[in-house]
């Protein structure tokens, strides 16, 4: 079986963490029911958070977190060299995620606020694709456990994974959720890529867009609806920017 020209038989996997909360990699250890099946399907050779084994012969690298320092850039490039397939995992890796909220301020102000005059080695927030070529983006904050397994099965079988192109609304309606937008809450479900099984609206919270835009998302019409419902520009902007998933869609960004 081949995917991207690479033959994979019980592929060797590395999981690497950069600047994030490590919630994405935790999802991997969290899928208890079939953890053993997963570990049978792939060989985990480098996964610092759960194992002291550290081998450098991985074929697929999963990256979580965003990239902020020069040493992270170097480490990421090294991983890219080794890995046949590199998967950016989660909103931080795919989009920069919530970390971008600090980009509203200058780097020196950011450091001063937390560490006063102390020297701290950091840089601007970059998503993984800003530094190296990314083969696959696995979205979400955090990633969805079933989707991770689904992706691994595809990689092992050598089938190209097709992520949903339609918006969260579709899954929401499939699950017969009551629409939170109709209940007066803000929801970005109409423009956000599905695949999370509409977990937020299911729990009576509007979607915050953590999975990034769906294909052919109609932002103008959603923003129009939100305005009509009485949400202020500021409120809309703050929600749209939270995960840095929709840069450039607001007039104020242009």
């Amino acid at each position: 079986m081949k995917y991207l020209g690479i033959t994979l038989e019980r592929p060797k996997i590395g999981v690497f963490d950069f600047t994030g909360c490590e919630g994405c990699q935790l999802q991997i250890a969290n899928k208890e029911e079939d953890l053993k099946d997963l570990f049978d399907l792939v060989e985990i050779v480098n996964f610092r958070e759960i194992s002291s084994d550290r081998r450098e012969d991985y074929e697929i690298a999963f990256i979580d977190g965003c990239i902020t320092t020069d040493s992270e850039v170097a480490r990421l490039k090294k991983i890219r060299k080794q890995a046949g397939i590199l998967v950016a995992m989660g909103a931080c890796a795919c989009l920069g995620g919530v970390n971008n909220l600090r980009s509203r301020f200058s780097l020196s102000d950011v450091i001063r606020e937390v560490y006063d005059r102390h020297h701290i080695n950091t840089g601007p927030v970059r998503k993984v694709a800003d530094v190296v070529h990314v083969d696959i983006e696995l979205p979400g904050c955090p990633i969805s456990k079933p989707e991770f397994e689904w992706l691994v099965r595809h990689l092992v079988l050598g089938i190209e994974p097709q992520f949903p192109k339609y918006p969260v609304c579709v899954e929401c309606k499939q699950r017969l959720n009551s629409c939170v937008l109709d209940m007066g809450l803000m929801c970005l479900g109409p423009v956000t890529r599905a695949g999370c099984n509409a977990v937020c609206p299911r729990n009576r919270l509007g979607c915050w867009g953590c999975r990034g835009p769906s294909e052919e998302a109609n932002f103008e019409s959603l923003i129009e609806i939100l305005r009509e419902k009485g949400f202020t520009e500021e409120h809309i902007a703050e929600r749209v920017k939270f995960f840095n998933a929709f840069s450039g869609v607001l007039n104020s960004d242009r």
Partner: protein, 428 residues
């Protein structure tokens, strides 16, 4: 008898494994003397205090959760509590019960992740849990059953175990149906036997012998073992109100670490399961006391490796207390689970006992309901200084005992791991 001391040694562990986040251990012995011994947090900061600035308060708990993938429920709760205390709002009773249950689910999930995936491999002499699945399938099964329950509970109670959805200012976004709570209670009953199996497993693990007396800081419970809010106490006799968290933690910055350190009455103090256990032993569930008995764990211990055992005792506490809470909720009118609030200029502090120790969030809010200033003090920040001093004492003792380099390395790693440091969290 000749005492064989280690003459020279160089241990340099980059990115210690089986802990959350990035930390390095450096130990250098020259001429039989300890020349360097550091526990350095090298995780890159994310600057959450800055990220909060200017956000609407409704977003604060959602952002706070992203500080840590393991204790996201604690962060969301502390942030929401800070805002609710600032606005002087009291959430409805059923909502606070569901929050406590979700907190318990997180404690169980985090402690069991630590005990099985991070700690047990050291005692079973394997690099990770993965080989254990084949060599000791019954141990793996026990781990899986407990973690499955913990995740299932969090999913039901607050939508998701990592980055909860249901916690909002004023209460909850929704409340589980009675039927679902009954099913959860059944699942809980089915999980309890696995806890006792875990106890048997850990009875067989001999914790290394090491003692360094230190100050232990935790919340102090009123009628209940503490998890959400309350007075701050220390084993050296300090007692303060929740609002005085700054003078309880006294953060300071050092050169070798990106995590700030803290102190109170001595050079360092410790928080977490062992601190809670020592300071609130009287409030533990009888079954948890029974488990402690079985492990020979009594209040007054100052062996940091016993953090592992105190965590296990807390697993018993949260499971048995969850059962009582569920039964109570099933008989309660749960129709009110959230209240409306008006924003105004104010500030507040929320303290909760996260799995690894006491966690504080502070928010100052503007008239428009925006976060003007945020501060958070993380459990692992508070433990980092203590780990540093423990490591010194441990390595010095091992040198004198003439312990081999490999063994010094192993015991040092196990020491740091026992604290279950959550490093991304501590740098935030």
């Amino acid at each position: 008898m000749t005492v064989k001391t280690v003459k020279s040694l160089n241990i340099d562990i980059k990115h210690l494994s089986r802990v959350e986040g990035h930390g390095d251990i450096r130990i250098r012995v020259e001429d039989g003397k300890l020349a360097e011994c550091t526990w350095a947090v090298v995780e890159t900061p994310r600057f959450f205090e800055v990220m909060f600035k200017g956000l609407s308060i409704e977003m604060a708990p959602i952002l706070a959760a992203r500080i840590c993938g393991i204790c996201s429920i604690s962060h969301a709760l502390a942030s929401a509590r800070a805002i609710e205390r600032a606005l002087k709002i009291e959430i409805p009773g059923p909502a606070s019960m569901i929050r406590l249950l979700a907190k318990h689910a997180e404690t169980l999930q985090s402690h069991s992740l630590h005990l099985f995936f991070l700690v047990a491999p050291d005692f079973l002499n394997v690099p990770s849990m993965i080989p254990i699945m084949h060599t000791n399938p019954q141990v793996a099964e026990t781990a899986v059953k407990i973690k499955w329950f913990a995740n299932r509970a969090a999913d039901l109670l607050v939508g998701r175990s990592t980055h909860p959805i249901g916690i909002k200012i004023g209460g909850l976004t929704q409340i589980p149906r009675k039927m679902q709570l009954k099913e959860l209670a059944k699942d809980l009953d089915a999980t309890i036997p696995y806890l006792w199996k875990t106890l048997d497993l850990f009875k067989g693990f001999k914790m290394p012998d090491f003692v360094r007396e230190t100050e232990l800081v935790s919340l102090r419970g009123v009628n209940r073992y503490p998890f959400i809010g309350g007075d701050l106490i220390s084993s050296d006799g300090v007692r303060k109100e929740e609002d005085e968290y700054r003078s309880m933690t006294n953060e300071y910055i050092v050169d070798f670490s990106n995590s700030k350190l803290t102190r109170l009455s001595r050079e360092s103090f410790a928080v977490g399961a062992l601190a809670r256990f020592n300071n609130n032993y009287d409030l533990l569930h009888p079954k948890a006391k029974e488990a402690a008995e079985g492990l020979n764990l009594r209040p007054g211990v100052h062996n940091p490796y016993f953090y592992n055992l105190a965590q296990l005792v807390e697993c018993f506490h949260v499971m048995y207390e969850s059962k009582e809470l569920l039964l109570e909720l099933i008989d309660l009118d749960t129709s009110k689970f959230s209240i409306h609030y008006k924003v105004r200029r104010c500030e507040g502090i929320g303290a909760v006992e996260a799995p690894r120790g006491i966690l504080y969030h502070y928010h100052r809010i503007s008239d428009e309901g925006k976060i003007e200033k945020a501060d958070c003090v993380i459990p692992t920040n508070q433990n980092n200084g203590n780990i540093y001093y423990d490591l010194h004492k441990l390595v010095n003792e091992l040198i004198v005992q003439g312990m081999e380099g490999k063994e010094i390395e192993r015991l040092s790693q196990m020491l740091v791991r026992a604290y279950d440091p959550c490093i991304s969290c501590s740098v935030h």
